[in-house]
């Protein structure tokens, strides 16, 4: 294999307290074997003011540690204020790649290198080519794509292709805040109740079956994506970059497991056992990459 596999730590999607957020990234900077770290508020612009004060020191620490820093944009831009904040991010030219998670941000970045984020709808070669023409040098593909399409797009890409490999999957975004709604609050007076659930709020069916998770305006999978078993096959078929979504677990250890499997140092089955121990409350899924229901865990080889 000519290209060494790379790991990206996706942006924290949850509303962590600023100190927890800062401490998390400091430890990632010092200890985690990831190549790239994304930072920035993706889900709700009401959270941005809390992160802004700690972001500079986080970015400084990550950069000093030799990590590539990517600044992630908001996913759903509706107001002029949100558009202006995105424009500032896109035009700051601070020496970091920006990850566009709304097509408006990609348009603001046109002509300069950027990352096409996993919340853009990139399902085929035509759209990938259009975004690369715009300046995308790396593209993180949507969650619901099966392996054959991931591989087809990796083959068609001029730039890098990244796929999601660990953590709760971002499945939907809305103008409405379900965290607030679960407390009989409106989004305008939300009291930031999403901060009470650092891994998202579990959503069960009426038969008490775990199903989804809510993170403010975002709906996520209940299950944690686990592609440890599939990493070698995906690598062999030309996918070289994998994204880990931060959860409130030992992400340094999670990254080390993915790295070990990519390096061939640990068998996927052993790594999966260790991953389950690191995430004691989690259930795992890998259905999408097998072309199946996203919530399923499929044992078969790719």
């Amino acid at each position: 294999m000519t290209h060494p596999a790379k790991l990206t730590l996706g942006p924290v999607l949850f509303n962590w307290r600023p100190e927890a957020f800062r401490d998390f990234y400091f430890r990632i900077a010092d200890e985690a074997c990831v190549d790239t770290v994304c930072v920035g508020e993706v889900v709700c612009s009401k959270r941005t003011p809390f992160l802004a004060p700690v972001l500079p020191e986080v970015i400084e620490r990550l950069t000093s540690a030799g990590k590539e820093v990517v600044l992630s944009s908001l996913a759903l831009i509706m107001t002029e204020r949100e558009a202006n904040e995105a424009r500032q991010l896109a035009t700051a030219d601070a020496g970091f790649l920006v990850e566009a998670n709304d097509i408006s941000v990609a348009s603001m970045l046109a002509g300069r290198p950027f990352v096409a984020g996993p919340l853009l709808n990139i399902y085929n070669e035509g759209t990938l080519a259009a975004l690369e023409e715009l300046g995308a040098v790396r593209t993180c593909l949507p969650a619901e794509l099966p392996a054959d399409i991931l591989v087809t797009l990796a083959g068609a890409a001029k730039g890098e292709i990244e796929i999601q490999a660990f953590g709760r999957l971002p499945l939907a975004i809305s103008a409405r805040c379900y965290h607030a709604r679960s407390r009989n609050l409106a989004k305008d007076g939300c009291q930031y109740v999403c901060a009470e659930d650092p891994d998202g709020m579990a959503v069960d069916t009426l038969d008490d079956e775990p199903f989804l998770a809510v993170n403010g305006t975002q709906t996520m999978s209940y299950h944690y994506l686990d592609l440890l078993h599939e990493l070698p096959a995906l690598r062999a078929r030309g996918i070289n970059r994998f994204r880990l979504w931060p959860q409130n677990v030992d992400m340094v250890a999670v990254a080390a497991l993915y790295r070990a499997v990519l390096d061939g140092a640990v068998e996927p089955a052993d790594a999966a056992d260790q991953l389950a121990a690191l995430c004691p409350r989690a259930e795992f899924s890998n259905g999408y990459v097998h072309g199946r229901e996203g919530h399923l865990f499929v044992e078969a080889d790719l």
């Binding site: 941000v105 919340l119 709808n121 305008d188």
Partner: protein, 332 residues
């Protein structure tokens, strides 16, 4: 105060019969899809063959109405031919516009069919002026169907920023609570999604189970709702179900409800929207005729400066419940 612009009524037609009903009831435009996964209402027994589209366009044009063809799923990597052919056939049959969501398909259509008018589907979820300008400037999109995330005030701001690009908004019918085209809940549960397969919470995965005390509705084995004896069991659309979160059972995402903006028509018209869209290509001709007539009367009354007619659409809304959705800020 600028003069009010008369909005077009854009009406659904899942079948040739519904198309006829819609144009006879006063639709300015009807929107249709081909009978395959190229459109977001890929349901059994629905949609148009090429021949039916040709006949439908002739009939609509005789009534002075336009026909828009929705090709608004995301082409599958490795085999975009089905989608390219749908665009080519729409151009050949002289459809008045195609409604597209995928950037690659928009680029293809703009390049190969430069005379074909392009509308941006709601499935592209262009929720701000920068996104809309991207589609207008790069691909020549003339009209954008706005995602159901904006308030009326925000829509007015968008309209002022993007003219002469036109906007179209949903005024009635089924209601996505997530930003459209940015939701994979259906494929998470069933393996089939709006973006890839043109279906959401598909009927093939629905089961109603009779249990002691009532009926349980399921989607792909997940319980979406439970109904007591004698209570009508609604369709288990994933985001309209009851779930348990934070120790509480509720319609966490949205109640089983329909969008109905009849009472808001004066505000919506003042917001400078070019076209009002009625959801429901999966609905029968009686539904289509009733809704189109109601909105025809409503729009005509506002334009003539008459008071809004009192029209009751309760009997055809989901569970009899109605909402004005995201158009009012409190919905969020």
């Amino acid at each position: 105060m600028t003069e009010l612009v008369r909005p077009e009524l854009v009406c659904p037609a899942g079948t040739p019969a519904a198309l006829k009903s819609a144009v006879e009831a006063g639709a300015d435009c009807v929107y249709v899809g081909f009978r395959d996964e190229t459109n977001a209402r890929n349901f059994p027994g629905l949609n148009f063959s090429r021949k039916e589209l040709e006949e439908g366009i002739a009939l609509a044009h005789d009534h002075g109405a336009k026909v828009l063809v929705a090709i608004n799923t995301f082409p599958r990597a490795g085999r975009p031919d089905l989608w390219h052919q749908a665009v080519a056939d729409s151009a050949r049959l002289k459809a008045d516009a195609v409604i597209l969501a995928d950037i690659g398909l928009l680029a293809h259509a703009a390049h190969h069919h430069p005379d074909l008018r392009l509308h941006l589907s709601v499935q592209a979820a262009a929720s701000n002026p920068d996104s809309i300008r991207f589609y207008a400037e790069r691909f020549g999109v003339k009209r954008v169907v706005l995602p159901r995330v904006l308030t009326v005030q925000e829509i007015a701001t968008v309209n002022a920023a993007i003219a002469p690009v036109e906007t179209e908004v949903f005024v009635f019918g089924g209601l996505c609570v997530m930003a459209e085209g940015r939701c994979a809940l259906s494929s998470y549960a069933t393996g089939q999604s709006p973006n890839m397969n043109g279906v959401c919470s598909p009927a093939s995965h629905v089961r109603y189970e009779e249990r002691a005390g009532g009926i349980t509705s399921q989607l792909a084995g997940f319980t979406i709702n439970k109904f007591g004896e004698g209570e009508p069991a609604g369709y288990p659309t994933l985001c309209k179900g009851r779930f348990i979160a934070n120790g509480k059972t509720s319609y966490l995402f949205e109640e089983p409800t329909s969008l109905n903006t009849l009472a808001m028509l004066p505000e919506l018209i003042k917001a400078g929207i070019t076209a009002f869209k009625i959801e429901g290509r999966q609905r029968g001709r009686a539904y289509v005729a009733a809704v189109v007539q109601a909105f025809r009367q409503g729009v005509d009354a506002v334009m003539a400066g008459r008071p809004m007619p009192d029209i009751d659409l309760d009997r055809i809304t989901e569970g009899g419940r109605q909402t004005t959705g995201a158009y009012e800020r409190t919905w969020r």
